[in-house]
Amino acid sequence: MSDRIFALAVIVVALGYILSATTIQTGFMPDPVGPKLFPYMIGGAAIIAAITILIRPDEEPDWPGAATFGRIALAVVVLVGYAYALKPLGFLIPTAIAAGLLSYQIRPDAWRAALTGLGLSIGLFVIFRFGLGLGLFGFPRSWGIF
């Protein structure tokens, strides 16, 4: 079942890809192939492969339960938040929070997770900033330290 859903998704995306390729503007240079053909070939090959999978899917993979998916989804949210926080808030605070939360997702032990977050945040900052000399900001720039 999962394989069939995957194959259908591939077909939809590949059709969209081919459709989008039809709108590519061609150049003025004489070129017997042009910028559209290769994308068409890619889309076509993907559709053929997807049809093969539709006909002969593999065994169902071992999906984790809803709780695990919840934890993974939470981890994704944490990472997205981290991606947005890194620039305005500097390195130290977002890293401590994100690393701590991720650590908690892998092993639910609040104290260890907090220590891991703090340790990784400070340790990595020292390595990146002073060891490797990257131009990282430790705190929000308006604070004026680091």
């Binding site: 999962s2 995957f6 591939v10 590949a14 890809y17 390729a21 590519i24 503007q25 061609t26 150049g27 003025f28 240079m29 070129d31 017997p32 192939v33 910028p35 290769f38 994308p39 890619i42 889309g43 090959a45 993907a46 053929i48 492969a49 093969t52 999978i53 002969r56 593999d58 993979p61 071992d62 934890r71 981890a75 994704v76 990472l79 997205v80 981290y82 991606a83 947005y84 890194l86 620039k87 890293t95 994100a98 690393a99 701590g100 991720l102 650590s103 892998i106 092993r107 032990d109 997770a113 891991t116 977050g117 990784l120 945040s121 990595l124 990146f128 490797l132 990257l134 131009g135 990282l136």
Partner: protein, 501 residues
């Protein structure tokens, strides 16, 4: 001899204090990365590329550092195979078969030393092989035109999808995803935007480093969350380390045979180190008179896959350097490194930048000797590293990945894209869709299209031009065989599950 004087120049570059230090640092880092479960040569090298780039190292120095990491990770992979029965990376999978049983019999130290020596023999001889074969292949590659290159790219993808994966259709889809992503951005020939959907951020295309770090490193976090981060516990005691001379003598011919098999497997585009160790182990088992001890701690079962996978690591550098077509996931990552450094691998590399090529070869030879020292007398230090629990390791790896990508572009958009690739990698791993072809597709997509278009310009749109030279025809036949062979050999060659190389 020409080769020797070039090699001497290479040593002059590699033996500068700066490069020597980088080689040693790379070896230590690599062994650590290889030993840690869940981190192997490909994702280890991947997360370090942005950092190496941000450091502003010159091309040779960056290459020395990263190939030392690559070789180091190949050596280090065996440590967790032997002590934990968990391969540190996929090529080390075969080493668990005899390594762990031997460790359980109280001979963990012997197994580590023996496999360290086998790694050295494989890697050292393969580097010599690289030295002899690569310049010759580079000269041959001068005769490659666009039609030959197009066939070569097809060969790389079809062997990767055929021999190195369980399901050709899924590998083909993965390849198409990679090629499809490569098309995003401005078209090389016409300068027109393709698949950018009017977004400025898409104009430059998608940076392959973002995809690599996402698929290789971020995915690993999700996999560990699912597995509840089973804390690794050392199941075996490690006593005093001594050198098991009798085992080394007894398995020396095994190592040589395995090196030969591994090297050849490594050269095949798309096959790589996992196949090398697998074939070396199966080959050794097939010719052994007494097979009963295999799987129960036979020294040959340790020597063969370790010599095989390290030889394949060296062999895989041959097509990567001479043709620009990587032989495995990790060499794909090294190709990404070269492209980041603005070095175009291929035959011209050998004539235009001999300093890079020979400096690299010389530092590989040096790295091997450093690694032998690190991995035999000092192996106990690295065993301690296995104690780092995943709940500390994985967040650390994630943060390093974020900082690496962030320091390259400073854009949150790239970070979001990296997370997206990480999520995709997780689902693909569950569905058994290989991710290495995606990387290879992103890396090679534009070159592949260019070679097709140039071939068509030369021939005026005549498709038979693609099959017009003996080299091209040979490559097409090899590609067809590589893709089809597994369909017939599936019963004979039952591979263990492949994840990444």
């Amino acid at each position: 001899m020409d080769t020797l004087s070039l090699l001497a120049d290479g040593f002059a570059i590699a033996l500068t204090p700066g490069n020597l230090m980088l080689a040693v640092i790379g070896c230590v880092l690599g062994t650590i990365i290889g030993a840690l479960p869940g981190l192997g040569p490909s994702n280890g090298v991947a997360i370090l590329i942005p950092l190496a780039f941000s450091l502003g190292l010159d091309a040779t120095a960056a290459l020395v550092l990263m190939t030392a990491v690559y070789y180091g990770a190949m050596y280090g992979g065996r440590i967790s195979s032997i002590l934990l029965n968990i391969p540190g990376d996929e090529p080390a999978l075969m080493t668990t078969l005899d390594g762990y049983p031997m460790a359980r019999q109280g001979r963990a130290g012997d197994a580590l030393v023996l496999s360290g020596v086998a790694s050295f023999v494989g890697a050292f001889l393969a580097t010599l092989g690289l030295m002899l074969l690569a310049p010759w292949l580079a000269r041959l590659a001068f005769r490659f035109g666009p039609a030959e290159y197009f066939a070569l790219y097809i060969l790389a993808f079809s062997t990767l999808g055929g021999i190195a994966s369980g399901n050709q259709a899924k590998a083909l889809i993965a390849t198409c995803i990679g090629l499809g992503i490569a098309m995003i951005g401005l078209d090389n020939a016409t300068g027109m935007p393709r698949f950018t959907f009017g977004s400025m951020q898409m104009m430059d295309g998608i940076d392959f480093l973002v995809a690599i770090v996402g698929l290789f490193a971020v995915t690993e976090v999700f996999v560990f969350i699912e597995s509840h981060g089973r804390e690794s516990a050392l199941g075996v005691k490690l006593g005093r380390i001594r050198v098991p001379w009798s085992d080394i003598r007894a398995t020396f011919t095994t190592m040589l045979r395995a090196t030969g098999i591994g090297f050849i497997a490594g050269i095949l585009p798309g096959a790589g180190a996992s196949l090398g160790s697998f074939l070396a182990y199966m080959g050794e088992k097939a010719i052994a008179k007494d097979k009963s001890r295999f799987g129960k701690g036979d020294p040959r079962g340790i020597a063969a896959p370790e010599a095989g996978n390290n030889a394949a690591a060296g062999g895989a550098l041959v097509p990567m350097l001479t043709l620009g077509v990587p032989g495995s996931g990790t060499t794909a990552v090294l190709l990404a490194l070269l492209m980041t450094l603005n070095i175009t691998p291929g035959p011209t590399l050998f004539t235009d930048r001999p300093d890079v090529v020979w400096g690299l070869i010389a530092s590989l030879l040096i790295a091997n000797i450093v690694l032998l020292v690190l991995n035999v007398p000092l192996v106990k230090l690295f065993v301690k590293i296995l104690m780092v629990p995943p709940s500390v390791l994985l967040p650390g790896v994630t943060m390093i990945s974020f900082v690496g990508i962030y320091s390259l572009s400073g854009s949150s958009f790239d970070l979001l894209m990296m997370i997206g690739f990480g999520v995709m990698g997780y689902f693909f791993r569950k569905l058994d869709v290989p991710t290495v072809p995606i990387i290879l597709g992103i890396l090679l997509g534009n070159n592949m299209e260019d070679s097709l278009r140039r071939a068509m310009v030369i021939s005026g749109g005549d498709w038979t031009y693609l099959f017009s030279s003996p080299i091209a025809i040979g490559l097409w036949i090899a590609a067809a065989l590589g893709f089809m062979a597994p369909m017939f050999l599936r019963g004979v060659l039952k591979r263990p599950q492949a994840i990444t190389d």
